[in-house]
């Protein structure tokens, strides 16, 4: 159906999945507080949360199959891009809770509310995926961030967890202030907060060189770069990812990033597209710097969680390419990449979580020495995840197509980003250095004598591993259906811009 978002009832109808998730989360919070803290109660609430997420997913699928749309005016979007991103976010949340139930049991975290916080964070992210108004973006980012600050410090017995939480909170709030000041200046220059209206006013009043608007966009870019951990604003990410409980690290690395990027793309495509020439260079350099810095620093990491943190920074760099490319193809490349990246990240962190001894210790890469000899299946699965992150053909499954698709979007971009595509490929070659290093350690080195036997793996973690491996390899063998779905759910940069030219040499086929 077509929603008229100015009418409150139709607006609520367009927000059905979000309202379902939030209402369910509030009920679950009461359920969680109903009984004293215990492992069994924590597990029950966790399983109920997974059920709620699946119900939300079904609603999203139902609404997207029905082909809902909205009249142009409105503070939220009702389009295929929103549904695609919602599904990726919900998938990530299911993975997080499935891993967290068993991780909590092992680390002695008995608060059932931890799962409810994941639900609240996802509710914020879904708002973010739908937002077409600066106010809604701000609310979505904050609902998400406040919940994730708490989740980072979930393990109250761990000083590292508390420290990660503090760092994340202070830097996150600092970044939010930048984002907000940028929004204030954009509002000041255009007098609008809705993306479409901003784009329209920029064109009508010809604000392309307006300093207030450009400074506002710049400050918003800084805020967004902090949230998605792009270099040089990435310094918090390795510390926070290292200190947080491992399932939450996966949640931050994959799901939080996807949500922030979805909103990033929508703001830049819909509101700021007409000033493309004003911000394109900044985002271009941000992408290059992030790819290079992330890859080079990742090479020297000894701790696997920190290595994966730098790898997630690298993927931020790859995803920034989709922002710079500013085309329908790039928006579909984003959803495809986000799905592949979410699957591979959750798989990799599921292995890290099940390899960690109870309590807090470093997750060193050397602990994976000779894993093949004691846990052959887990070593194989980890190899698949790392190859998928690398974008290796066949064995990396869908990761290869994700990167292929991204490079294609960069080359076909209206501004012609051939150089960026070349840098993407070259930095991917560097990333082989650390991904394949872990594979080599697992398969080609003998198990150290003093190495402790990894703990038995729980059923839920095993399920996460199996599902991610099967999806990565399966979609790698048969990607065409997924490509069709993502391609029919792209969204086009709003407002026509006369010249998309960054002054770069173009690729002429």
């Amino acid at each position: 159906m077509t929603y008229d978002l100015l009418s409150p009832t139709q607006l609520s109808a367009a927000l059905l999945p979000d309202l379902l998730l939030m209402g369910g989360a509030i009920v679950l919070m009461l359920v969680a507080a109903w009984r004293p803290e215990s492992d069994a109660h924590q597990r029950t609430v966790g399983l109920a949360a997974i059920g709620l997420l699946i119900a939300t997913m079904a609603t999203v699928v139902w609404m997207s199959v029905r082909g809902d749309s909205a009249l142009e005016t409105g503070v939220i979007a009702v389009d295929g891009f929103r549904w695609m991103v919602d599904l990726i976010l919900l998938l990530g949340a299911i993975g997080t809770i499935a891993l967290a139930i068993e991780h909590n049991e092992r680390d002695g975290i008995t608060q059932a509310e931890s799962h409810v916080l994941v639900l609240f964070a996802v509710a914020g992210m879904m708002i973010l995926a739908a937002a077409r108004d600066l106010m809604v973006v701000f609310l979505g980012i904050e609902i998400m961030s406040v919940a994730v600050y708490v989740l980072t410090g979930l393990n109250r017995r761990s000083a590292r967890s508390a420290e990660a939480s503090l760092k994340y909170f202070l830097l996150g709030a600092f970044a939010t202030a930048f984002l907000l000041y940028g929004m204030a200046l954009v509002y000041g220059a255009t007098g609008q907060t809705q993306f479409a209206e901003i784009g329209l006013v920029i064109r009508r009043l010809n604000l392309i060189d307006n300093p207030m608007l450009l400074v506002g966009i710049g400050l918003m870019l800084v805020g967004m770069a902090f949230k998605v951990a792009a270099a040089p604003f990435h310094m918090w990410a390795p510390d926070v990812y290292d200190g947080a409980p491992t399932p939450i690290t996966a949640f931050m690395a994959a799901t939080v990033k996807t949500a922030a990027f979805a909103s990033f793309l929508r703001i830049w495509y819909e509101a700021f597209y007409s000033v493309f020439n004003g911000w394109a260079h900044a985002v271009w350099w941000l992408a290059v710097l992030t790819m290079v810095v992330g890859n080079v620093v990742a090479l020297s990491q000894k701790n696997i969680k920190r290595m994966l943190a730098y790898s997630s920074i690298v993927h931020t760099g790859y995803l920034l390419v989709t922002v710079t490319a500013a085309s329908v193809l790039a928006s579909t490349a984003f959803t495809f990449y986000a799905l592949a990246y979410t699957l591979a990240t959750f798989g990799a962190f599921a292995v890290v979580a099940s390899m960690q001894p109870a309590g807090e210790t470093d997750a060193r890469i050397s602990d994976y020495q000779g894993l093949w000899h004691v846990r052959p299946w887990m070593a194989t699965a980890m190899a698949v995840f790392l190859l998928a992150l690398l974008g290796f053909p066949v064995f990396g499954g869908v990761g290869f197509f994700a990167k292929w698709y991204l490079i294609q979007a960069a080359i076909a971009a209206p501004a012609g980003l051939t150089i960026l595509a070349v840098i993407l490929v070259l930095t991917s070659v560097i990333s082989a250095g650390y991904y394949l290093q872990v594979v080599r350690v697992m398969f080609m080195m003998p198990r150290a004598d003093e190495a402790v036997e990894p703990l038995p793996v729980g059923a839920l973690t095993r399920a996460v591993l199996a599902v991610t491996v099967v999806l990565i390899l399966g979609l790698g063998l048969f990607p065409s259906r997924l490509v069709e779905i993502t391609q029919s759910n792209g969204f086009r940069p709003y407002a026509y811009s006369p010249a998309l030219d960054m002054g770069l040499p173009r690729f002429e086929p």
Partner: protein
């Protein structure tokens, strides 16, 4: 009035940024972030005189969100104080590499 308000807001925001970058006490850092948020609020209110009520609505959202953030932030600072008996960021250095 508009220009003066925006200049004051920019000044307050800058003081907040400098505070965050130079001070090392978590509570003072947090206060500096709050100063930045309120500087933005001032901008919004000043601009809403020009553009209509949207800016003021935004300020209400910012204030309520900042209150929620303060609750969570202070709880996190208490959690770290229990572990380290300090809220000085120089004493909080387990995570590095």
């Amino acid at each position: 009035m508009l220009a003066e308000s925006l200049a004051l807001s920019a000044l307050l925001f800058t003081i907040g940024v400098i505070g965050v970058l130079t001070r090392r006490n978590a509570i003072i850092l947090f206060m500096c972030v709050e100063l930045m948020l309120n500087a933005v609020n001032l901008s919004f209110v000043a601009l809403s005189k020009l553009h209509g009520v949207g800016g003021q609505v935004f300020v209400i959202f910012v204030m309520s969100v900042a209150a929620a953030e303060a609750a969570v932030g202070l709880a996190i600072i208490i959690a770290i104080f229990r572990h380290r008996q300090s809220v000085n960021l120089e004493d909080i250095n387990l995570l590095k590499g």
